[in-house]
């Protein structure tokens, strides 16, 4: 297991953590995160969020996903399972991510985020030579 360092932050530059947002105002999207040799891939279900209302940021190793969805339901509600509101979730990224090469796409309410690994973090095959 690689050692993980959680950076210590003080005062102003502390990112907003989930606990400080009021619970009524957001929901946590469900995510899948998997790793391949070249990258980390994050997919999140954010139904109702269009490209314009999605905000993805990486700051000091913290990935923040924010989205806003609004219901277009007309008339009087007679049955309700869900409320379309804001999405919010944060993740701590490993150090070996090349933030510049991050790609994101949204399709049918699913966000796919490709987080490229730095060259140094990719696995290498070492050839063994016999003499």
């Amino acid at each position: 297991m690689a050692a993980r360092n959680i950076p210590v932050r003080k005062g102003e530059d502390m990112p907003v953590r989930e606990g400080t947002l009021s619970r009524e105002n957001y929901v946590k999207p469900a995510v899948d995160i998997f790793e391949t040799e070249e990258e980390l891939v994050l997919t999140a279900d954010i139904p109702g969020v269009s490209k314009e209302h999605l905000d993805i940021g990486i700051d000091k190793g913290i990935l923040t996903l924010r989205g806003h969805a609004e219901s277009s339901l007309k008339g009087d509600v007679i049955y309700r399972d869900f409320q379309l509101t804001n999405y919010y979730r944060q993740f701590e990224l490993p150090d070996a991510i090349d933030a510049e090469k991050t790609r994101a796409e949204v399709k049918n309410g699913v966000l796919t985020l490709h987080l490229a690994k730095q060259e140094a973090a990719k696995p290498r095959r070492i050839e063994i030579t016999s003499h």
Binding site: R23, E24, Y26, V27, K28, P29, A30, V31, D32, I33, F34, E35, T36, L40, V41, T43, A44, D45, I46, P47, G48, V49, S50, A69, S71, S72, L73, K74, G75, D76, V77, I78, Y79, R80, D81, F82, Q83, L84, T85, V106, K107, N108, G109, V110
Partner: protein
Amino acid sequence: MAMWDVLREMENLRRDIDSAFRGFGRPQFGEAGFIPGLGVTEYPQINLAEDSDNIYVEALVPGLDPKDLELTVMRGTLTLQGERKEADGRKKAWHRNERGAGRFLRTVEIPAEVEADKVRAEYRNGVLTATLPKAEMAKPKKIDVKVA
């Protein structure tokens, strides 16, 4: 006095029990929060609304090919079924897997007769919205009271 209808009473009881358990085991955020994905007992989640002419349905079905989504209306019930395909089978190591995949089907009772051939549905940003026009007989009628 109206007759006491045993079947109706039983139906009411069943509904009360259903609504008491609805949301059980699900995280509650305010009025009606949700986490789409695994562990949701009823999938997809829906909202129903109505006005005097139409019934409106809204369902959360992210990550679907619209071709895999099927909406059927039959005698007072609306059935929504489809399949969310599993992510690609590349060799990979999972860190989190919260999103579900697979086939789903949900049937809901709609409170009025609708004209099945005039139903319009749209899939956008993972949300399905459908407008079901009420049948003429189900629309409220205003009756003029004449003074004799």
